[in-house]
Symmetry: C2
Subunit: 307 residues, 2 copies
Amino acid sequence: MATTNLDSPSTFDLKSYLSDRSRQVEAAIDAALPVVYPEQIYEAMRYSLLAGGKRLRPILCLATCEMLGARTEIAMPTACALEMVHTMSLVHDDLPAMDNDDYRRGKLTNHKVYGEGVAVLAGDALLTYAFEQIATQTPQGPDGADPRQILKVVAQLGRAVGAEGLVGGQVVDLASEGMLVDEETLTFIHMHKTAALLEVSVTSGAMLAGASEGVVDRLRRYAQRIGLAFQIVDDVLDITSTPEALGKSIGKDVAAQKATYPRLWGLEESQRKADQLVADAIAELSEFGEGAQPLVAIAQFITARTH
Amino acid sequence: MATTNLDSPSTFDLKSYLSDRSRQVEAAIDAALPVVYPEQIYEAMRYSLLAGGKRLRPILCLATCEMLGARTEIAMPTACALEMVHTMSLVHDDLPAMDNDDYRRGKLTNHKVYGEGVAVLAGDALLTYAFEQIATQTPQGPDGADPRQILKVVAQLGRAVGAEGLVGGQVVDLASEGMLVDEETLTFIHMHKTAALLEVSVTSGAMLAGASEGVVDRLRRYAQRIGLAFQIVDDVLDITSTPEALGKSIGKDVAAQKATYPRLWGLEESQRKADQLVADAIAELSEFGEGAQPLVAIAQFITARTH
């Protein structure tokens, strides 16, 4: 029975799935962004875009599209766009006027290499190119996606990134530094800074596959839950991991007096809530049978990861 | 005869046309961006977006759409988006890491009021919201635009803003500071920093009206010429105008050793070239008859303006 597999993820090799997909995504990103004049901006964009990372957002998009029976080629431009937007938010958040980070994924941050001006512009260009990619590269027509669905993907991505999404979360995060915020504010920050983009990663894959609104909503709930779990685990790892494993400074949230879940709930309760969110997320996938294995395994991976 | 009017723009009252249209655009922008939680980011976006300005880009978009016989409602979301993108580029260009400007249109720049972090984020949110507006607010269907045309507008706007447009121009501009650049580089800077967005303002209005590729190309040539003329006149005004008339510091380009046309060609020859570009631009409009009056008058206004 299809549902059996949901309870026995050991039959699914997530590690090789993630590494295969991640390679595909990196090849697509690499091809989408050749270096032309003026070289410096393309190099700055590529520096952060090709600096590694789990490629979780693009992989969620591709996996959702495939689970619903559509070709992954239809979702690849959106998958690349999601990684561009995610990278933009990291480049801008690392700026001295924001989180002032010198290292990211074990490498110097964009502005430490290219200067602040170019780092701002590289983020702007990545953000813009994300929308351009979706609009120009998504296959249309009988073998592709409906142009109206592609416009919906553009709209949803816009919402996930702007003042109602990533940017809104970052603004509240900046304003909360040094304050002990309540649970509502902390959840607002993370639903916007992290969950919003994970959500559109999943729902865009569904829309491009032509899913019904009911299916899109179900998958949205899956994504919201793993999004919040992801952030809780991030906060936990900031305390319990090592800089070598994380590829970035640790204890930074504590030092910056940043609002975190462990600070609010304690470490153990934070981990328990993350586990519960993952279980709830997986429950949303029951109707999709074996095809949901990658999404189930990704959800489990989120709380099990150590970096 | 229709063409007679092209030679006698005095019959057309550009001043009231611009002020009517500018009021319409401001009402649409105001309505598109209500202030909700987290208020600070919406206030920062509105601060720069509603700080005045000629609204030249949205007006070009609306005027082109109307000239080709379509309702301006179809182009209004794109018109607002163009102003959002233009504002984003001003907010980010004014940052200390770039042009380091304290005043813009006679008011403190965004980062002087809200801080650098929020100014970066306000720009990001404006850029994102521009794409979202086009995708969600453009009327579709028989009374509206074809979704495939709307996707083309998203794509063209993306190109005009990213590394192939505004951002590419700004990167070369930053890298040229203190250097006496050649004409080719200077033209690259301005074709990208200024002309690219003026171009998409015109071509997007045409696409949304369902224009043929031939018509779009003709209007693209019009826009490229007025775009370059606009920048030449800007450079001239930086030398010849007063800070009161411009609403910003003057002589700044000279002080910053920036590449400008007057520096390359002298004042008189710069003005002559701008006049020639405007004449060439207007020549592209001959087939459109009386309906082209606003675009003709706008082209003439560009070289005649004193601020």
